[in-house]
Structure formats: structure tokens, C-alpha cells
């Protein structure tokens, strides 16, 4: 069970005009602009649910994920995940979550993938039994057996993403955060990743929260979507709320963005 209530997060961004003289001026006197990345965000997600978290670039998706996973501390608001506040009980909290950042790797670049997995086993204190069982299951579902002995730098993006997802599930997390998991993947890999997420949610009842710009991901995976723009929740509902009356979800979404000026 995840509840977020009235969470606010602001960033201080320094700004200056182009040109050398304004660069000099900025050296002496910095002007800051406050960016409200999150402006009173509230929602509830129950156990075993699969939720698509969408919005344009810079809307606050990543900030939300980072707060939920205990990386950032918000200025205001409360957040409870299975009874814990992520930024206060960080270590206890992160034991129960898995995080995949689509654009960043957690695998060691120069060593075989299996070595990275072994290190994770140690970091999360996974028992031999659980580790072997999960590794077997995951490599079967994601087709990893060929890849495990290859250094991460020699994998294709699709292969690497499958390994990334496996890496964040070795410790049986109750909640999985996926930040743009299908970005840059070819059709085959995309389908494989989607299939896997569906199965995971069905079989293990893992709560999945995913951010993406790919509406087909959302259509294939979730009923519920939360739409954020300029740091505010604009819609908490289903895909049909957006797509009804349009030829595709994409068009509906674009029209929605336009009508809200985001």
C-alpha cells in the first residue's frame, strides 16, 4: 500500500542570459529561479496494482519515483509505503523495492552479468536458496541463460534491459519501479519486456509503477493511469478517459496535454 499526500518538491535553478557579460554578472550575483517539480501530489496505490505514471518531459515523473524510492526528501507532505516513510527509513524501505532506471545501468560494465548478480546477492543478503530459485526463474522467463556469462558492455540494449530487470528482482521486492523501461528498445525486446511485467504482476502480485512515453506500453500493461503535468496530478483514472473519442491513445493524450497547456 502506497499513499502520498500533498507532497511538494522545489529545485533551485540558477539562470542567466546568454553572453559573456551576463556570465560575469552571474559570477558576482547569482539569480535563482524556484522550479516547483511537485506541487501538492497525492495518490494511493494498493498492493498488487499496476499503474502507469505518465506526463510530458519535466512534469515531475522522475522526481516522484525518486521520492518513492527514498532518494529525494520532499519539503512538504507525507508518504507511507507499507508503513514506512521512504526518506526516513531508507535502508528498511529499499529492501522491499526494486528500481529500474531505463537510461542508467546498474550492471558492472566490464565483468560478466552473473558477477553483478552475485554482488547483489551479497548486498541484499539473499539466501542461497532464494537466490538460486529466483535466478533460475528469471533467466527462464527473460531468456538470460546465454547472456549471464557476457560482460555487460558487450550486450545489446535489449539484452541489457532484460538483465537490468532481472537484477532488480533478485531479492523478491514487493514493489517494482520502472522508469522508462522500454526506451530505445526494438519491437521484439519491447514485447518481451511487456510480457514479463504482466506475468510478474500476475504470478507474484508485485506492485508495479511504471513511467513511460510509449502509450502502447500503457495499453498493454495497465488499466489505471496517473497523469502529471507541471507538478500536479491532472488525471487519476483509466486509459479510456483519455482515448475515448480519438483514433488512438496518442492523439487523445496530445489533445489532453494541449488543453491543459502543458
Amino acid at each position: 500500500m502506497i499513499t502520498m499526500q500533498n507532497v511538494c518538491k522545489t529545485y533551485k535553478v540558477s539562470k542567466r542570459d546568454a553572453g559573456f557579460s551576463s556570465a560575469l554578472k552571474a559570477l558576482l550575483h547569482r539569480e535563482y529561479e524556484l522550479i516547483h517539480a511537485l506541487d501538492g501530489v497525492s495518490f494511493t496505490i494498493s498492493e498488487g496494482e499496476m499503474v502507469g505514471y505518465i506526463g510530458p518531459n519535466g512534469a515531475g515523473k522522475s522526481s516522484t519515483i525518486k521520492i518513492l524510492s527514498g532518494i529525494l526528501t520532499p519539503e512538504e507532505g507525507t508518504c507511507q509505503i507499507n508503513g514506512l516513510t521512504p526518506w526516513k527509513n531508507r535502508i528498511e524501505h529499499v529492501r522491499n523495492i526494486g528500481v529500474v532506471f531505463g537510461q542508467r545501468t546498474q550492471l558492472w560494465w566490464d565483468v560478466p552479468v552473473i558477477d553483478s548478480f552475485e554482488l547483489l546477492k551479497e548486498i541484499y543478503r539473499i539466501s542461497d536458496h532464494t537466490y538460486r530459485r529466483n535466478l533460475e526463474q528469471l533467466s527462464e522467463m527473460l531468456g538470460l541463460s546465454e547472456l549471464l556469462k557476457t560482460p555487460a558492455r558487450q550486450l545489446s540494449l535489449g539484452q541489457r534491459m532484460r538483465c537490468e530487470i532481472a537484477a532488480s528482482l533478485l531479492h523478491d521486492p514487493k514493489i517494482l519501479f520502472l522508469d522508462e523501461p522500454t526506451i530505445g528498445l526494438d519491437a521484439v525486446s519491447k514485447l518481451a519486456v511487456r510480457d514479463f511485467i504482466l506475468k510478474l504482476n500476475e504470478e507474484k502480485k508485485t506492485t508495479v509503477i511504471l513511467t513511460t512515453h510509449d502509450m502502447q506500453d500503457i495499453e498493454a500493461l495497465t488499466n489505471r493511469i496517473i497523469l502529471i503535468g507541471k507538478g500536479r496530478i491532472l488525471l487519476d483514472g483509466t486509459i479510456s478517459d483519455i482515448s475515448s473519442g480519438f483514433n488512438s491513445t496518442e492523439e487523445g493524450l496530445a489533445a489532453f496535454y494541449k488543453s491543459h497547456n502543458i
Binding site: G70, L72, R95, D110, E180
Partner: protein, 257 residues
């Protein structure tokens, strides 16, 4: 500790992927420090004493300081290169792992190519010991171990300060090199040759003298016995460093997606 071993093995395996590069950087490290040794050598061809210290005593001093520094650099390298850890988003990853973040930063970078510098330090150290004519006893050997330990801690402390500042600003931290690389270079000579003011500063504010000058006097039989324990006092320096770090972590604002 077992986990640190695992990290160590991964670093070792990574390095083995690029054997030639590793060898060359070791050699580079060795030669850089060797240069400094030549500097000392030629200076002492002209002068036989510096503030009452002889050639071999200065070499011993430099060898110990260099060894302290390279120990800190090899094992606390994560803090030294912390700005890259932050800007590459690696620190986000560290925060979603159920382990202490200081431990993870330490383990995420183990710089084995610093072996070259360490080797140079060991050579100078052994040479200094042979020539200095110190009459070795167990307490004196223990004092050397304490110096190495305390010294590695003090230099690590500076790396931690350096890393903590990264939480507030990512750029323009070169001035911190005065305290790390600078101290290594000035550490060739016992701190007192720079004058009384510097010695006071290095005793009470930044504890360089506690890991170098005072215990060295003890080794050479010119200091009081308690001088040997001063490197332990120098470890207290880590407390304010770690406090600064804690404040920094609370200010952490990640690095985009």
C-alpha cells in the same frame, strides 16, 4: 567485510580486462612520485641539512606521507571522484540499496592502479629506514603503523569534505586539491620547516603535523613518548568531516533523468 571483498574482486576482474592500461597507469604513478624524489635528491647535493633533518630522514618522512596518501587514495577514491558519482547518477543507485551509503561510496571505487605510487612510497620508506640509523624497537614499529593508519584517515577526511561540497555545488572544487595533492607535495619535508605559524595551523586546525612531524620526531628519538600516539588523535578529524557529509546527503538533489 565479506561484501567489501566481493566488491574488491569485481574491481580486480574489471582491471584484468584492461591489463595494459593498468600496467601503464601504475608506471605513470610510479614515475610521478619518482620525480619528486629526484627533486629532494638534487637539493641535498647542495645542502646537507634542512632545519636539522638529514637527507635520509627527509626521505623517510616523504615515504611515510606518500604511503599514507596512497592508502587513502586507493581505498577512499570514491570520495575523491564523488562529483562523477553524483553527475552520472550512480549515487541514486547507491541510495536504493539497503546498505550504508558511506560504505557503498568507499566500495564503488577501489583504485588499484595506485599501486605504482604505493610501490614508490615503500621504496623510499625502506631506504629511509635503512639510512636513518633508527634504533628499532617494538613501540617504534607500532608508531609507524599508527602513522600510516592515522594518515590514511586524515587524507580520507579531506576526500570526504571534498565529496560533501559536491552536494552543494558540482563544479569549481579544484581549491580542495591544496589540502590533498598539495599536502602530499609539501609533506616531503617535516612540517616545521615551513615556520611556526604553519606548524600551529597543522597541529590544531588541519592535523597534518600529528601524522607526520611529531611521530617522526619520536621515531628519530628526539620527541616525547606520547608523540607516538598523536596519529590517533588526528583521527578525530574525521568526525567533523562525516558530520558535513550527513548534512550534504540531506541536501542531495539528484541529477535529472
Amino acid at each position: 567485510m565479506k561484501l567489501y571483498g566481493k566488491y574488491f574482486m569485481i574491481h580486480l576482474k574489471s582491471i584484468m580486462e584492461y591489463k595494459t592500461s593498468f600496467l601503464f597507469s601504475c608506471m605513470g604513478q610510479f614515475l610521478v612520485s619518482f620525480n619528486v624524489f629526484l627533486g629532494i635528491y638534487f637539493m641535498f647535493r647542495r645542502f646537507s641539512h634542512v632545519e636539522g633533518f638529514t637527507y635520509s630522514e627527509v626521505l623517510l618522512c616523504y615515504g611515510i606521507t606518500l604511503l599514507e596518501f596512497s592508502l587513502a587514495e586507493a581505498f577512499a577514491r570514491g570520495f575523491d571522484t564523488f562529483s562523477s558519482i553524483v553527475s552520472q547518477g550512480e549515487f541514486d543507485r547507491i541510495l536504493v540499496r539497503p546498505r550504508n551509503e558511506i560504505f557503498q561510496v568507499l566500495a564503488s571505487r577501489i583504485e588499484l592502479s595506485r599501486m605504482g605510487r604505493m610501490l614508490q612510497a615503500v621504496v623510499l620508506f625502506v631506504y629511509g629506514i635503512r639510512k636513518s640509523g633508527i634504533h628499532w624497537t617494538y613501540p617504534k614499529a607500532a608508531a609507524v603503523v599508527l602513522m600510516l593508519f592515522g594518515g590514511a584517515m586524515v587524507f580520507s577526511g579531506f576526500f570526504v569534505i571534498y565529496a560533501s561540497i559536491c552536494f552543494f555545488t558540482i563544479e569549481g572544487l579544484e581549491f580542495m586539491n591544496i589540502f590533498t595533492d598539495g599536502a602530499r607535495e609539501y609533506g616531503k619535508y617535516p612540517v616545521n620547516i615551513y615556520g611556526k605559524r604553519v606548524l600551529q595551523l597543522c597541529t590544531f586546525v588541519v592535523p597534518y603535523a600529528l601524522i607526520q612531524y611529531y611521530p617522526l620526531l619520536y621515531l628519530l628519538g628526539r620527541g616525547k613518548p606520547y608523540y607516538a600516539l598523536l596519529p590517533l588523535a588526528a583521527c578525530l578529524f574525521l568526525i567533523p568531516c562525516l558530520m558535513l557529509w550527513k548534512i550534504g546527503v540531506r541536501h542531495y538533489v539528484s541529477a535529472g533523468s
